[in-house]
């Protein structure tokens, strides 16, 4: 069980499909304000209806081609993995050794992005094939699928770019948005991001533990220990395979190559993992953190309509332009906008869906953030640099006396509110 709710279930009537997800609706009936500066409520509704229709049209057209596609990608990934593993067993001949590293890295990229990420979104559940079932699939990454899915599929994809709810804004490590409070460690934004890039899979695993929630008391000890146990078990399996089993097999090469053969295999696998880490980091950061991407606060998003939900996804993501192989290697997450609008549509359909989305955006006069990887990356780097510097506004500095006073005032107001409610019920 990845998500246990402690409050009384709020009734969310999925029939309408046009209300905010449960925890973001309140009894005030006041509607969300997202997008009201650029569209009327009616226009937002028709925007939502158009996107719903596009989603259904695409889902209905799924068939054998999509099934063949994902199996073809898996087949290519597996051959790439097998040839890669053979290649790194030839440290005596550097061209095949290097090719082995590249192929193994490629296989891990394909497995994590176009296969793992997309399968775990349930994009291929309609096929009813147990080997690519979103519930059962486990990916080639130290982060256990279950906890990753909770943080990603649920929190990140439902509450996209809402401060305090989507924990993927800066991953609790970086300051990437002005509305995040600044702390002194953010001076090291750029070096921290570089380290995260190199060891991204470990960052994802650590993020899935949600240690912050546990320390704040938002998560029970049992839940935290269960997460820790899953993470340890998965890490053990991954490390055993990559850094013990195959290097031990490479002992057979020692008489022929020399004592260092197992180390060469270990080093090659390590390099392949780093290649995958860098690539996934770049794709994800370029899809979420360029300058024009917008973030929201909870109040804006309370009681949002279906159209507003879609709009938030649109404004909260950015695309990367490129060639077809590039899109496939990115798991089609170069179409981050389409992915956020329709996370359960097989990603190979995003390019065709994108044409219609751009058309819809043009008609409604909405921004559609896309650009070359170099442009998006530069923007991300600039953001990290800008928001790493101490802001002049003391309210943006997390530990300034002004911010502390503000938080204290908020806490007291909340307590007073609670007491009044208690008094009234009594």
């Amino acid at each position: 069980m990845s998500h246990k709710r402690t409050t009384i279930p709020v009734h969310y009537d999925a029939t309408g499909h046009n209300q905010a997800p449960a925890p973001l609706s309140d009894a005030t009936g006041r509607q969300a304000t997202i997008g009201l500066d650029i569209m009327s409520r009616e226009e937002l509704d028709s925007f939502g209806t158009e996107l719903d229709a596009l989603r259904l049209r695409t889902l209905e057209s799924l068939g054998q081609d999509d099934a063949n596609y994902i199996r073809r990608v898996i087949r290519i990934q597996q051959w790439s993995e097998i040839l890669g593993r053979i290649g790194i067993f030839t440290p005596f001949f550097w061209p095949t050794f290097v090719a082995g590293i590249v192929l193994l890295g490629l296989s891990k990229i394909l497995e994590n992005m176009e296969i793992g990420h997309n399968v775990m979104h349930g994009q291929y559940d309609w096929m009813n094939d147990p080997l690519i079932d979103g519930k059962r699939y486990e990916w080639d990454n130290v982060a256990p699928a279950q906890d990753w899915k909770h943080g990603h599929n649920y929190l990140h994809h439902t509450y996209t770019n809402i401060h305090g709810m989507d924990k993927d804004i800066g991953y609790g490590l970086l300051r990437i948005d002005e509305a995040q409070p600044w702390y002194p460690n953010h001076r090291f934004n750029l070096p921290a991001a570089t380290l995260l890039m190199l060891f991204f899979e470990w960052g994802v695993m650590y993020h899935g533990l949600e240690l912050g929630d546990y320390l704040k008391g938002d998560m029970s000890k049992e839940e935290f220990l269960a997460r820790k146990k899953r993470a340890l078990a998965k890490t053990r399996r991954q490390v055993f395979k990559d850094y013990v089993a195959f290097p031990v097999l490479a002992l057979a090469l020692v008489p022929m190559v020399g004592w260092w053969a197992p180390l060469a295999v270990l080093g090659a696998t390590f390099t392949a993992n780093i290649i995958r880490n860098i690539w996934t980091f770049l794709i994800i950061f370029c899809g979420h953190f360029p300058a024009e991407v917008q973030t929201f606060d909870e109040d804006e998003a309370k009681n949002e309509s279906r159209g507003q939900w879609y709009l938030r996804q649109l404004l909260g993501s950015a695309n990367i332009s490129g060639t077809r192989p590039f899109h496939i290697l990115s798991g089609n997450l170069s179409h981050q906008i389409e992915h956020h609008l329709f996370p359960d549509i097989p990603a190979r359909r995003y390019p065709e869906v994108a044409r219609e989305i751009r058309d819809i955006c043009e008609r409604h006069g909405l921004p559609y953030n896309t650009g070359r990887m170099s442009k998006q990356l530069l923007s991300v780097a600039r953001q990290l640099g800008t928001y790493g510097r101490k802001p002049s506004d003391p309210y943006l500095v997390g530990n300034s006396p002004e911010s502390k006073a503000l938080r204290r005032a908020k806490r007291e107001a909340a307590r007073a509110e609670g007491e009044r409610a208690e008094h009234l019920t009594a």
Partner: protein, 369 residues
């Protein structure tokens, strides 16, 4: 399972292919080379009646065999979707070789059964489970045995009968094979049943309910009189019954009245149906029962989403967005039809993944919760 398959399915190999099962790789080399997943190739298709077919399968080495009376999950891939139904094995367990057959009557609304009858071809790949089910003969056969079936419910008892006749085990002193079909034309295995008329110790009685034979000794639907006429004492006869729900209900009542319920073994056929008229009625007013398989509870269908009904029944299923986005709540629906609340699409496959937060039951539904 052979030595090679056992080795491939071992933990040592698993730790090298982790996080994937070795079958994930093997099936890409050849779909039948899986170590644990049972798969088979269609090697024969034989027409039994106008709308019933016997499909002979050659399973891969992962198949562990069957006991007569057991059934098997039978999956075919159509337009990229694996459709799964459960069929009884109809062939003899004592025959040579590993091949076995299932016999299927096309149900007008049953997608897979119709597919089997019209489109399945020799050489095609079938996704199977291991044989399952407790509807099997006991180790020691009793003196008196009654195999009672109706319509396509004949398949499991056919397998029992064939196995008994093929093997060297001691036959019961008296075996009665009582079968109900609408007419001789609609009867499956007619030739084989004709042959058995002359086997000593075996009494084959066929009742055609719509077009009875002239001078047939018993006529019409099953009743206690049929047993009396055949001289069968329910209390002293181990009885296996398989067929439509109506037949089984009547037989069960009869046996209960005769104080012989402990002699009765039953197997239901669950035919998934989407009758458009029924569907509309069910959508307009919630009907049927929503059963939660794992927790062993059930509730009257209230018309709400399956997630909400499960919560109302006191279960705490996993969930996330509650709007069909995040897939956190996805579960297997085992039987019955469900409607997507947004698209209105109805899915009636056995064993398919659904999102309970955006699906409502249409009629009787069983989910793995």
């Amino acid at each position: 399972m052979g030595v090679v398959r056992s080795a491939l399915a071992s933990r040592a190999v698993g730790s090298v292919t982790s996080p994937h099962h070795v079958d994930h790789y093997l099936e890409k080399l050849h779909p039948l080379w899986t170590a644990e997943a049972v798969r088979a190739k269609v090697v024969g298709i034989e027409r039994e009646t106008d709308n019933a077919t016997t499909v002979t399968l050659r399973p891969n080495g992962a198949w562990e065999g069957f006991t007569p009376g057991q059934h098997v999950e039978f999956g075919v891939e159509v337009d990229g979707v694996r459709k799964v139904r459960v069929f009884s094995v109809s062939s003899s367990a004592a025959s040579k070789g590993r091949n076995f057959s299932v016999s299927v009557k096309a149900h007008p609304d049953g997608f897979v059964s119709r597919f089997l009858n019209s489109r399945l071809a020799s050489g095609e790949l079938v996704y199977l489970s291991q044989a399952q089910g407790e509807f099997v003969l006991p180790a020691g056969l009793p003196d008196e045995l009654l195999l009672l079936s109706g319509g396509s419910g004949i398949t499991p008892v056919m397998s029992m009968m064939r196995t008994m006749l093929d093997s060297d085990v001691l036959m019961p002193r008296r075996v009665t094979f009582l079968h109900y079909a609408r007419s001789r034309d609609e009867e499956m295995f007619t030739d084989q049943l004709d042959q058995w008329q002359d086997v000593p110790g075996v009494e084959v009685v066929r009742v055609y309910t719509r077009e009875p034979d002239d001078g047939a000794e018993i006529q019409g639907r099953f009743s206690v009189d049929h047993l009396k006429h055949l001289g069968i004492d329910p209390a002293a006869t181990l009885t296996y019954v398989c067929g439509p729900a109506g037949l089984i209900a009547t037989v069960r009542e009869t046996y209960t009245e005769q104080d012989a319920a402990d002699q009765l073994r039953m197997e239901y056929f669950k035919v998934p149906t989407i009758d458009p008229a029924l569907l509309e009625a069910a959508a307009a007013q919630a009907s049927g029962t929503l059963s939660f398989d794992r927790s062993g509870t059930a509730a009257e269908n209230s018309g709400n989403t399956i997630l909400e009904q499960a919560e109302a029944a006191g279960l705490t299923p996993e969930y996330g967005c509650r709007m069909g986005v995040c897939n956190t709540c996805a579960i297997k629906k085992l039987h019955g039809a469900v409607r997507h609340v947004i698209s209105g699409e109805v899915n009636a496959n056995t064993d398919e993944t659904i999102k309970p937060c955006v699906h409502v039951p249409v009629g009787d539904v069983t989910v793995a919760l």
